[in-house]
Amino acid sequence: MEDSDTAGDGAAAQVAELADRLTAARITATSPRNIARAVYDGHGRAISLELRPGAKLQHSPESMSEMITAALQAADRAVDALRQHAYDDVRVAGDTIGNWRRHPADPGAAVAAAFGTQG
């Protein structure tokens, strides 16, 4: 069992490390037909938005807007999923936060374990 006095600090350290990894991460999302390509870092900050060469000659401004919006929305979803996954994996007291969320501790079981109940 992790020392409870340091559990919070342990999480903070992991979160800080995770933040560095997310800063270095690159999430790329493309629009349909690969016309627009958005690149974000793991925090959801935009790094770049690229258009396929010649695309603006082949598509109307309205169509180009739709493609770019689609690329940005896909990137947002990907960033959210990455961040959720990354923070769920933060480990505190021998388990991940994601597991806590999925399987919350049963208070009755805690009392039973402490008191040695026979059920």
């Binding site: 069992m1 409870s4 006095d5 559990a7 919070g8 342990g10 999480a11 903070a12 992991q14 979160v15 995770l18 933040a19 925090h43 959801g44 961040r83 959720q84 990354a86 923070y87 933060v90 505190v92 007291a93 936060i97 806590w100 919350p104 501790a105 049963d106 208070p107 009755g108 805690a110 009392v111 039973a112 374990a113 402490a114 008191f115 040695g116 109940t117 026979q118 059920g119």
Partner: protein, 337 residues
């Protein structure tokens, strides 16, 4: 909130303050939920130092007094047994070991009650460590959630409120489980159940000591009484000093029983209070039922010892009247009847 935090046990206070500080900068709406949870936990903890001092009183004072009572009667009885022959002696000699066994069972009741209280205290300690750990972990979960939300305040608030709600549900669940602890289905309750049925001195009845036919305030002992009760056969003999020691042991016993009862009442009233047990109020009630029963047994034992001492004293006085110099003539008189 600061007053609530200040009222918490030190170990939870640190974890609770950490959690509160992390939550409140993101979701002020959670303050009341946290405050309620912390108050529930404060009550859950009970007062372990009172459980310690109460169980120590039962161990070191109550049981010790009963042991002293038993030792004095046992020592006097060891000397007395065999020093008295005749009617009544046999009955008394049969009664004495049963009496000592009953006194021993009262010692065991005090010791077992103390042990049950200690088991309850240990269980509370165990549970408390889990609660404190859970509180630290919840603070860590908030840290991660805030980081996960990035700069999106709305997302952060929703995540943190969810975490606080789960924490509050966990705390409520623990309180509910404590309140609903089933009787005798946990270690401390099971241990206490071992003394649920306890024989008292009264259950032994009285030794069939010689008594005069006339039970008036100034009873007269007729020759027939003496013959029928004291000497159904064999020779009449008594070590009157051993008798005096035996009588004194029974009379002195009141001091021990009185002291045991006082210490036990002190343990019940000043140490093993409802608040000492936290939310586990049913166990408190069970402990007090056992202790009230035992105090009645102490009072009853005290009265019974006095009664036996009175009978023995009366017999001793009569034997004293016919001590060594007159025993042979007394026996002759009895034989002549």
């Amino acid at each position: 909130m600061s007053s609530i935090l200040a009222s918490l046990p030190v170990d939870l206070r640190a974890a609770a303050a950490d959690l509160y500080a992390k939550v409140i900068v993101v979701a002020w709406e959670a303050e009341e939920t946290l405050a309620i949870s912390f108050k529930i936990l404060r009550e859950t903890r009970g007062k372990p130092e009172l459980l310690d001092s109460g169980s120590e009183l039962l161990d070191r004072s109550v049981a010790a007094e009963i042991i002293a009572a038993r030792d004095e009667i046992g020592a006097a009885g060891a000397r007395f047994t065999g020093s008295w022959t005749g009617g009544g002696a046999e009955s008394f000699n049969t009664y004495l070991p049963k009496l000592l066994a009953v006194i021993e069972s009262m010692e065991e009741s005090a010791l077992t009650t103390a042990e049950a209280v200690r088991l309850f205290r240990q269980a509370l300690d165990d549970l408390w460590q889990r609660v404190v750990e859970r509180t630290w972990n919840t603070g860590a979960e908030v840290t991660a959630a805030v980081a996960q939300a990035g700069g999106n305040q709305a997302v952060a608030v929703a995540l943190v409120l969810g975490i606080v709600d789960r924490y509050a549900a966990h705390v409520s669940g623990i309180a509910g489980a404590l309140i609903n602890l089933a009787n005798n289905q946990y270690k401390a309750g099971e241990k206490l159940g071992e003394v649920a049925a306890l024989p008292g001195v009264a259950d032994l009845g009285d030794p069939r000591l010689p008594v005069p036919t006339d039970q008036a305030a100034n009873p007269s002992w007729s020759d027939a009484d003496r013959k029928d009760n004291w000497r159904p056969g064999g020779e009449l003999r008594m070590d009157t000093e051993a008798m005096a020691t035996m009588v004194a042991a029974f009379r002195n016993n009141g001091t021990y029983w009185g002291s045991a009862a006082r210490h036990q009442a002190e343990a019940a009233d000043a140490h093993l209070t409802p608040g000492a047990f936290g939310i586990g109020v049913d166990f408190y009630a069970d402990v007090h039922a056992v202790m009230a029963r035992d105090r009645r047994l102490y009072r009853d034992a005290d009265a019974r010892m006095d009664s036996v001492a009175g009978s023995l004293s009366e017999i001793g006085e009569l034997y004293g009247m016919i001590d060594e110099d007159t025993t042979s003539s007394f026996n002759k008189q009895m034989d002549d009847q």
